[in-house]
Symmetry: C2
Subunit: 175 residues, 2 copies
Amino acid sequence: MRVVVLRIGHRLVRDYRVTTHVALVARAFGAEKIFLTNAEDDIKKTISEVNDRWGGSFEVEEIANWRNVIREWKGDGGKVAHLTMYGISVDDIIGKIKHDKQLMIVVGAEKVPREVYDLSDYNVSIGNQPHSEIAALAIFLDRLFAGRQLKLEFQGKMKIIPSAKDKVVKTGEAS
Amino acid sequence: MRVVVLRIGHRLVRDYRVTTHVALVARAFGAEKIFLTNAEDDIKKTISEVNDRWGGSFEVEEIANWRNVIREWKGDGGKVAHLTMYGISVDDIIGKIKHDKQLMIVVGAEKVPREVYDLSDYNVSIGNQPHSEIAALAIFLDRLFAGRQLKLEFQGKMKIIPSAKDKVVKTGEAS
């Protein structure tokens, strides 16, 4: 399954760190790309540095108009899942979503236009309490890939060896 | 099981939004309290407003010294799980942690002192790629409570009725 993420409503400066976390979660949990409106160059740079050290080919694409990106995705046969506290519970709908071949996950900042609810094939809640789009994206991808994304191999220069007390990092360089 | 969260390394202003997300995730996913060093008053205010509207009695406690808070917790027989990309994989250790009666989950900002690794009973990774302490906390609590936290009832003034396309909120007031 191809999975991409669309982040809408990013506010310059104010949302910089939260949007960076959204992008890092998308990468670490198995999406292949994030579309961002108004991305600061620093976000692209951070992700590019992470790919360089930790592996993978996760992409950040800056876009001018998110409506066009959604419509184009749907025109190509892709489905769209919008994460919102008002939606159908993830555990009630994820079984259906797993059958899709191409999925775009939409995560908004504070206010999401009504149009997003209508354009989406699924409006999905991760619990019905206010929390965080970062947490929502992580739980959604975890459910979608049934936990397998935590074992993904990224083939980077650096690789962590899990440890009870220490930081053990294997580097690709000869010692 | 009693679960509390300790957020360390919060940097004023810079981490305000991320720490707020950490606190909201702790609340929504079933922890009873968060301890914060250097908390801005705005974080307390945000959580207090969320409790007021959405229910529950989640607490924010500002602390002066996180070492003392960890030691006191352990002195009372509580266990400590530190979330770090370097730790033991969550799926390999959560079965053991589920037997604990009192658990403190430690989430750091960028740099976490070595001492935290040593003071913790468990250093736990949510995958071994860099991502987000917000996502890590959400996945950890989701594993700990086996998804049940998404169905928690908070008994607030407002309650969401899950919906495929609309925002449906039930309020406690008579119409």
